[in-house]
Structures are given as C-alpha cells and as structure tokens.
Amino acid sequence: MTKITNVSLDKKVNSRNIQFVMDIGSYAQLAGNIIDNNPYQRNRVSKSGSIYNLLKEDIIQECIIPPIVLASTSKLSQNSSPERLLEEVLADYGNLKILDGLQRTLSIIDVYNNNREHFDNLDEKYLVRIEAYLSISDAGILYRMLTLNTGQTPMTLRHQLEILFSKYADGPFDGISILREVDEASVRSIDAYRFSDLIDGYTSFLEKNELPIDRFDILQTVRTIKFISGEGSAKIDFSDFVHSYRALTLAFDARFPDWVYPGEVDEDLRTAANPFGREIYKIFNKSQPLTGFGAAVAELISSKTVAGLDDVNELAKRLEFEENDLLRLIKFLDDIRGESKKIGNGQRIFFKLFFKYLLDRDGSSFLSVSESLERAKNRAMAEV
C-alpha cells in the first residue's frame, strides 16, 4: 500500500516533492527494481558494518526509519493529481534514483527478504517513509544528493556522479559512444570514451581539482555545492562538459587528421618510455586530460575568464597550432613521467595547466597550443 502524506514544491531545485509511506514489502520490491536497473547503486557503501547490523535488528522490531529520498527524472503529464503522478513515477523505475538512504534501502531489502512471512503477516503493515522529487533536473538531483548526503556515510562525489549519469553509460549520445567497464584499449576512435574517464573528468570539473579524491571530503563537497548552486543558469551539466571537451579534441583531430606517432623522431623530441599515445584519441580520450580539462575550465569559469562550458566550444575553433605540437605534447608528458612519483597525477597537473593557459583570455598564451604546452611543462615540472 502507498499513501501520500504531503506534497510541496522545492523552489531551490524547482521540483515537486511528494512525501508518502509505503509498506516494507512494496518498498523492497520497488527498491530492488531501482537497484537492478542501476548497478552503480548496488554496493560500495560497505563500511560501519556493525551499525548496519544494528539497523537490521531495529527494522525487525519495526523502528521508524528516517525518510528515504528518491528522485524521478520521468517526464510527467501535466495537471495530474498527486496520486496519479506518484503512480506514474513509481512505475517508471528506470528513471528513479535513490538520492539518500541507499544503505538503509539495502538493509530493508535484506531484512524483508529474510523475514517475508513475518512482515507479510503483520496485523498492521510496517510502513517505510519515503519522499520523491519529481521531474528534477540532473543538476537539481546532484545538488540534493550532495546536500542530503553531506555528513553521513561517506559516499564519494564520484560514486554519486556514477549513479546519476549511469544513463549515459552504454549509450551513444550526440555522436559519442560511451563504454562502460571496459579496458582503455577498447577506446578506438575520437568518438569513444570510457564512462569512468568521463566521470573522472566531470568530478574534477565540479571539484575544481584534477587529482582523484577517493575519500569523503566534507569541505570539498560544500565547495562543490556552492559551485553548482552559484552557477545558476550557466550550462554545467554532464553533457555540456562532454561536448565542450570533445570540441577541443576535435580541433586537434581536424588540424592533424589521421596523425600517428612517427617511427622516427628527432632526438630532442624522443621519449624515454612508450609515448603517452600514438594516435590523437589515445592521447585525449583518457582520464588524465579529461580531469585536467575539468579542473582547468572550472577554475576559469570561477574566475569569470571563461563564461561557461559552451564558451569552450567557440574557443576550440580558434586554436592556433604549430607543426610539432603533438610530438612536443608527448615529449613533455614523458618528461613529467620521469619526474613524477605518481605518473598519472603528474600528467593530470600538466594537462590542467595546459588547458588553463590555452583558454585563459587574460594569459599570454591564450589559444596558442605551442606556448601553452611550454608554459605548462615548465610549471608542472616544478610541481610534480
């Protein structure tokens, strides 16, 4: 059974919120469908085992669990009654996500499945409190995810982004194919990306930090919330991020069509280790440049040097290249590699600096690939 207890409008994220209760059996079934549909919601919040064991015992004793928060991105019919809307939302579980209460939900499913008879035969149904945000935007979901989860069980921003944007994994969109859970070797064209690399890049964009932060960092989350909240109408969605980055890589691809790393290279450009990439997509469709770009462009947006992600699309058309830019890029990455204790991090720092110098209107190397490479290399070598 499902019963609505309140309907309100969240004016911050411009979404209707329906609060309701549902019997544990129905919720366990609904949640099972949501989780099966989104593998990124399955695990990974596995710490504090004893706390959750306690929660399981409490559920059997029919404790009151704080409301679980869901979000629906379904396109809903206008002017329907709340009851009708809720029915539509719950039926379309492919577009439902658990914003807050993932671990509680996993516990509920577990306890219910192990005690079905007990719960199904209760004289009075054991009810779970739930609220659902309706027709909420991705940015709104992200904002609410972060605000709801702040201070609770550590779930990294990256994990939350995976959950949120899992709809893009597997699917081609706007000419881009996104590959889920595959080796880097499977990326075989300028149009293909690994989902995890794009998530890395977008995480760096939101955190303004090119380095991976795998642990829960409350201060960073607060900064991220401010960033998302403060951008207002600026285009900062995941798809905007992907398109702006792609515009830059396509500019390189257009300037150096069918480029491959040559068999013979002048001594001063020769690398000590294997080249970072032997084709353009192998250089750019990777985590390091994506995270570097994410952090760089976020800093530039913050300092108002770049108006927004769509601004990058325009700048990409005006890039100035020189003949040896790609060989120098690879040589510089090799130099960074030699100096770095953590090679990937060193390369991320280099790419952040490169994109920052390249897109900074107030800088001396604005739009000049060659000069930006040189400046980035000199600075990165001092930092790694």
Binding site: D183, A185, K341, I343, Q347
Partner: protein, 328 residues
C-alpha cells in the same frame, strides 16, 4: 585517513584482474614493505645472491603501481601475473600508499634455502625499503640507492621474530626516526654490538690457535681500543677502504683540522669512528646539521652490512639469534 589505498576490484585496472599466465600454478606469497616518497616506477625483479649466483625469487611492486597503468610494466604479463597473485592476499585491504609488496614464489625461495620470508626483512634497506610492521616509513631517502629493474639482495636475520633492541630497531627506528643525530647514534649501537662479538671471536681464535699468553694479552690490549676494534670489524667484513663521498663530508666538518692526507687515505672505519666521537663529544664545535641526514643514511647502510656479516658467520649468527631472534 590520508594517503590510503583500498585494494579492490574497483581500484585495480581491469587488465590486472585476469591471470595473465593461467598455466603457471606456482604458490606465491607476499611480504609488505614501506618506503617514504613511494614511486610507481620502482618496479623491480628481485634476485637473491646465493653463493656464486643470483636467483630470481619474485617482484617488488609499489602499491601505487598496482592501481596505475601509466608505468612501463602495465602490459608486462609477468608483472601482471604477480599483481594478480598479490591480490589473492590483499584484495579488500586498505594500505598506505608507501607500501611496497614483495611477491615471491614459494618454490624459488625453497631452492635457495630461505625457510622464512622474514629472512628478507631488511634485505632492501640500502634502497630505503623497510619491512612494514606498524608504521609507514617517513624517513628521508635522499641518499638511498635508486631502484632499477633488478634488485639483488641477500638474506639476513628473520626480523619477523625479533625481540628487544632489534624489535625496536625494525618496527620503530627504521621507519620513524627522523632526527639524524638520534638515527646515527641508534645505528652505531649495531657497531657496538658487533665490535663486542668480534672481540670475543678474535680472542677465541687466538685461544684455538694456542697462541702464547703474552700475545693474547697484547691483542686483548689492542682490541680494547674501540678505534682499533672497529677497524678489525671492517677488516673481518672485508669492506674497509677510503670512501671519497664520506671523506668529502668529513672534510666539510673537520676542514683543515685534519691534513689532506687524512681525507685521501683514511679508511671508512676510522673516519666513521672520528665522526662518531665528534658527534658525541664536540657536536657544538662544528657545523654538522647539514650533514646529519647523509651521515645517518650512511651509517644505516653500513650497519646493514655489519648485520649481513654477522649473519654470514655461523657462530656469531647463532649467538645473535639466541639473544634477539626467536619464536616467542
């Protein structure tokens, strides 16, 4: 919480998650080490010196390399095999980023008569790689040997069984002590201990050779001088020589208090003894601060060779094992 790495199927690159050599069914083991300022490029094959030859027993792999595909071994099937085998022990563990993992073949250890992996506990000290017990290493490695594609090591006492001074030595001193003066003095204790053992060894040799009592008296008199005893120790070890890098540091301390000949011809044993005396008695007279780190690192490596020497002499080895290395 800082700098911890969770080893799991999520953190491990996909290409390391499959057995790259499924037909190799050897038994493997792991031993954890720690190195301050870890470097994912520090991947090396480990060989053990065994009488005349060197035998490969496995790989030394920084934990940083296990979660990276940027290093040059990312596609090496033997490296991947060792990461794969290491994960059988380490999957799910959260470890400090300074951890280095020795992945070894049980069969190859047997072949060179290493009965317990603890015998390789201090084998990598010259590279700044210490056995990991309680603490990640935070000491300076500025003067340590670089790690190349191959490390040749020797077995020594089983520090996994250490007690007393050597338990403190391996669990606390090696990874944690950052004060160069303290570090130098602690390592000098290994010299003190070794000199005492060598003293008795030499006297016993005289006794076994039925030397004249007058000769024994004279020798005991000689060995009673610490300066001479340290030279005897080095002579026994076969490592005494003039070391120009140590001489350069000695010169920056003593300057023209010693004549030029001292710096070009004095053996390292005598020079170390002079430096030790200066540190103990006249530290305030000289500007030694800038050299403390070098000296501590130098004597640390020398203490390592002293322990290797003791381990190589059966009688001395037994004596030290009875006192400091045993199953509790």
């Amino acid at each position: 919480m800082d700098n911890l790495i969770q080893l799991s199927l999520e953190s491990l690159p996909l290409s390391y998650q499959k057995d790259s050599l499924p037909n190799v069914n050897a038994s493997y083991g792991v031993k954890l080490y720690t190195k301050s300022i870890p470097d994912e490029k520090d991947i090396a094959q480990v060989y053990i010196r065994d009488s005349e030859s060197e035998k490969r027993i496995g790989w030394m792999i920084p934990i940083l390399s296990m979660i990276s595909i940027e290093h040059e071994y990312a596609e090496d099937i033997y490296f991947i095999k060792h990461v794969y085998e290491a994960m059988k022990f380490l999957n799910g563990r959260e470890l400090h980023e300074s951890i280095y993992i020795l992945v070894y073949s049980e069969r190859l250890l047997d072949e060179i008569n290493i009965t317990a992996i603890g015998e390789l506990s201090i084998s990598f000290v010259p590279h700044g790689i210490y056995p990991y017990y309680k603490f990640p290493s935070s000491t300076t490695i500025d003067y340590k040997s670089q790690i190349g594609k191959k490390i040749v090591a020797e077995k020594c006492f089983n520090f996994d069984l250490s007690s007393g001074f050597f338990k403190f030595f391996v669990e606390d001193l090696l990874p944690l002590e950052r004060n160069g003066y303290a570090r130098f003095m602690f390592f000098y204790q290994v010299y003190e201990l070794a000199m005492e053992m060598v003293f008795y060894k030499k006297v016993n040799e005289l006794k076994l050779a039925k030397s004249h009592l007058g000769v024994i008296r004279k020798k005991i008199d000689d060995y009673s001088s610490e300066g001479k005893l340290i030279s005897v120790l080095y002579a026994e070890m076969g490592r005494d020589r003039n070391d120009q890098s140590l001489a350069a540091v000695a010169k920056s301390i003593f300057k023209d208090l010693k004549d030029e000949n001292y710096y070009t011809s004095t053996n390292k044993s005598a020079m170390l003894y002079d430096i030790r005396n200066t540190l103990v008695h006249s530290y305030y007279r000289y500007s030694i601060e800038n050299n403390l780190s070098y000296l501590a690192s130098y004597i640390e490596d020398e203490a390592f060779y002293v322990l290797n020497y003791i381990y190589s002499i059966q009688g001395l080895k037994n004596e030290l094992e009875d006192e400091y290395f045993y199953e509790s």
